[in-house]
Symmetry: C3
Subunit: 140 residues, 3 copies
């Protein structure tokens, strides 16, 4: 069994934003030399997400609006208990649960084994600072 681990760093300039990291993850698969296995890609921060969906900017606007309705940003200590600790990002912890922390992807014949529209995104809900993403592949 082989394993290969990489750490990526992203700095999204806005509070919320999505970045297509598929080419970067695909290149890590190639460098790993693993042809059959499983790949884990997860946010290492708890106000960020890694998810798989469509690379369509209108859809990304829809995600932002929808997440803001489900869990509105509110820095005041009134709505969220977490924001009584001096933090202002309780909403980001909630948004990340909807979008998920991680994806697990099949590696087959040396490539990400994806359907036609699957793309991997880093999802940020409390940005404007560097955060890390882990990629780990095990297989042969």
């Amino acid at each position: 069994m082989k394993s290969h681990t990489e750490y990526l760093t992203f700095n999204i300039p806005a509070r919320m934003g999505f970045l297509n990291i598929t080419p970067t993850v695909g290149e890590i698969v190639r460098q790993s030399g693993i042809s059959e296995g499983l790949l884990l890609c997860n946010a290492m921060h708890i106000t960020a997400s890694v998810f798989i969906n469509d690379d369509e900017s209108g859809l990304h606007q829809d995600y932002q609006k929808w997440l803001e309705q489900l869990a509105p940003f509110d820095a005041s200590p009134t709505r969220y208990h977490h924001n009584r600790t001096g933090e202002d990002n309780a909403d980001a912890h909630l948004k990340r649960q909807v979008m998920g922390r991680e994806v697990v992807i099949a590696v087959t014949k040396g490539k990400l084994d994806f359907g036609p529209w699957e793309q991997i995104f880093y999802g940020e809900f409390d940005g404007r600072r560097p955060k890390r993403v882990l990629v780990k592949i095990i297989g042969e």
Copy 2:
């Protein structure tokens, strides 16, 4: 290390619906000959889901009603930016994030290592066409 990969195709006759795929996935485990490992089962389409919950028709009605409240179907270009591209399925992309893309399941002693009520479902949010699901097992 062994690996085993299969692709399944489902065609749900309605826009939204859930299909119990546990027997099919269990049979793939048996055919793989893998006794200890991890199994990934994921939708390969971005408006569909694979999730684990109860095989109870009332609950499935509850999921449908609840998801429709959280992310209503609306083909018009007014509510969702994504539907300005000619698509009508923005809601399906949102619903799938709530239900999840994939499940990872332990394989122990040659079987799906499940609690008493765990069943695997294919969840469709934009059906009436064939879509694929990937099953990959790695282990020994």
Copy 3:
């Protein structure tokens, strides 16, 4: 390839509650002797969750209030079809889909490969009875 499987049992005294299980899972990694691999940790019950987020009690109150808004407890047979079967926990099945069934964690150099604030929680939405969690590690 090595594999290591453990079953944990938790009994949360309230209907809803979160328990930090990171030390227990970390000890299982140590005992497994696996230094590079992937770890699966999942609820074996369909009204419970395993998720990764912050160990901050205010945030946990926020999660509880938010989940109660998204999927309110209602034992009556009026709101939820599932509760016409004699059950009263339809809301718990919905809450668990938001928080997720499982996490997959990288094991690197014999440890959980975590960012600075990542902690693993058992999330209960229909407690007051013992329920099981599975931990499985594969690797070398």
